[in-house]
Symmetry: C2
């Protein structure tokens, strides 16, 4: 399809921000729910707050897309995919970081991308409890909280031994060679941080971290974060240097020279 | 010294909440500071936002204690300790989770305890960006955010294979046998989560996690969290089952049976 013009990008960015707000409202009653529920015996009867929150959020998003853009496609975590008559498709992860959510931690978020049929062109990450959104497209990237808006820009960091590296959990590196490749990077890096989920990518866009290296991602885990990182001047690929849109093994870097250096160490374990 | 009465506990709890608020105000201008600073070349000239924030926060706390309770002692991370003519001592970690803070992550907090000369009797954990405080004493524990107050209570979880286990980073287990002991627990547990700092203890008090197992803690890392966990019905000890007040190897559990089961696996690596 023809490339979206700037006004269309702006319109869809505004709409994506509306979608994540709706999702956030559906999620918040279930966050740290045991604190508000008198009867804590909620486990064991098949009731799972994060599943309920996940589904309620995705349903709220789908309903709003169907209302506003019935000809667009949808690709969601909970309710599957359908193509629309138009090439534009919304890619949805209603709660990225469900394990963090379950424990009441803060590093999770609602992720939404608009894919133009070839690549994600608008992306939003929203944490409703904290009330902040990381938003990106080729027009730029920003952090929005209340009335404040701050421009996001990745920082320079060309050398691995200056880099701060994030990953959600070392257990994600289970394919042959992955653990060694990740260790080859972290053993040279300045610092390494686990437990980060979508926040690692968002803060890399903010110029606060340098590398995110993960594996076993789904398309909806990464597509919404790509326009944020790229809009802030960073780069996201798979471990072979190709497009990361379908997930799998992913590397994000704020600095292209650092990306190239890290990729050399990851390539021996690259699957695709 | 004689045990503090309930009114004194309440008075000091209110004062501790005032201290963390002051600290939070001193910290916030430095959080994710690169987003507000035009010139990002802040590194390399010896300027370190987290050190500046840490010191500004501890100074704000010390000034207020000196004004209100000049006869109390102070034990802080940045400016050392001094005993007062009274046995009461304030134990301060102005930013617990500095590594998370540096990256712009959210799992960090201001920690303050009041120690009565034998044990911490009041504890507060405050995250100023999120605007929430976990507060505890023998009178109970609660989560405060804005005008909302919710009671904290640990959950039942007697069996290791039902437990969610948290630790800030596996690299903290560097003494002989520590890594094996930690692995003996996580290999049996339902789930394991890294990157948690003071949030793990606070959410254990909230009944959302079951075990926190760490090593190499300082007294000011753990004393403020002890009254929160104990006030919510949990237990905190070192890996030998003794008092955890001086830090080192720490285990916190929401359920006493789980604590006993985990302690059996940790004891072979207990230093004290």
């Amino acid at each position: 399809m023809p490339r979206l013009n700037d006004r269309e990008i702006e319109t869809y960015t505004t709409f994506a921000c509306r979608l994540v707000e709706l999702a956030g409202r559906a999620i918040l009653p279930h966050f740290r729910e045991t604190l508000t529920v008198e009867n804590k015996a909620v486990s064991g009867d098949g009731y799972d707050p994060v599943t309920v929150a996940d589904r309620a959020a995705e349903q709220a998003i789908r309903d709003e897309i169907a209302r506003a853009y019935p000809r667009h496609g949808i690709r969601g975590e909970e309710y599957g995919s359908h193509r629309g008559p138009e090439a534009l498709t919304w890619v949805i992860d209603p709660i990225d970081g469900t394990r963090a959510f379950v424990i009441g931690l803060l590093h999770w978020g609602v992720l939404i991308a608009l894919n133009d049929g070839e690549h994600p062109v608008v992306g939003v990450m929203h944490q409703p409890y904290v009330g902040e959104s990381f938003v990106g497209s080729r027009l730029g990237a920003e952090l929005r909280r209340g009335d404040a808006t701050r421009k996001l820009k990745t920082r320079r960091c060309a050398a691995l031994n200056d880099a701060i590296v994030c990953a959600t959990d070392p257990a994600m590196f289970s394919a042959p060679g992955e653990r060694d490749a990740f260790h080859a990077i972290t053993s040279k890096a300045r610092a390494r941080r686990y437990g980060t989920d979508c926040y690692a990518y968002s803060l890399l866009a903010a110029g606060l971290a340098d590398l995110v290296i993960e594996s076993r991602l789904k398309a909806y885990d990464i597509q919404p974060l790509i326009p944020i990182i790229e809009g802030a001047g960073g780069v996201v690929t798979n471990w072979s240097g190709g497009a990361a849109d379908e997930g799998g093994q992913v590397i994000a870097a704020g600095d292209r020279a650092l990306h190239a250096a890290a990729l050399e160490l990851l390539k021996p374990a690259a699957i695709t």
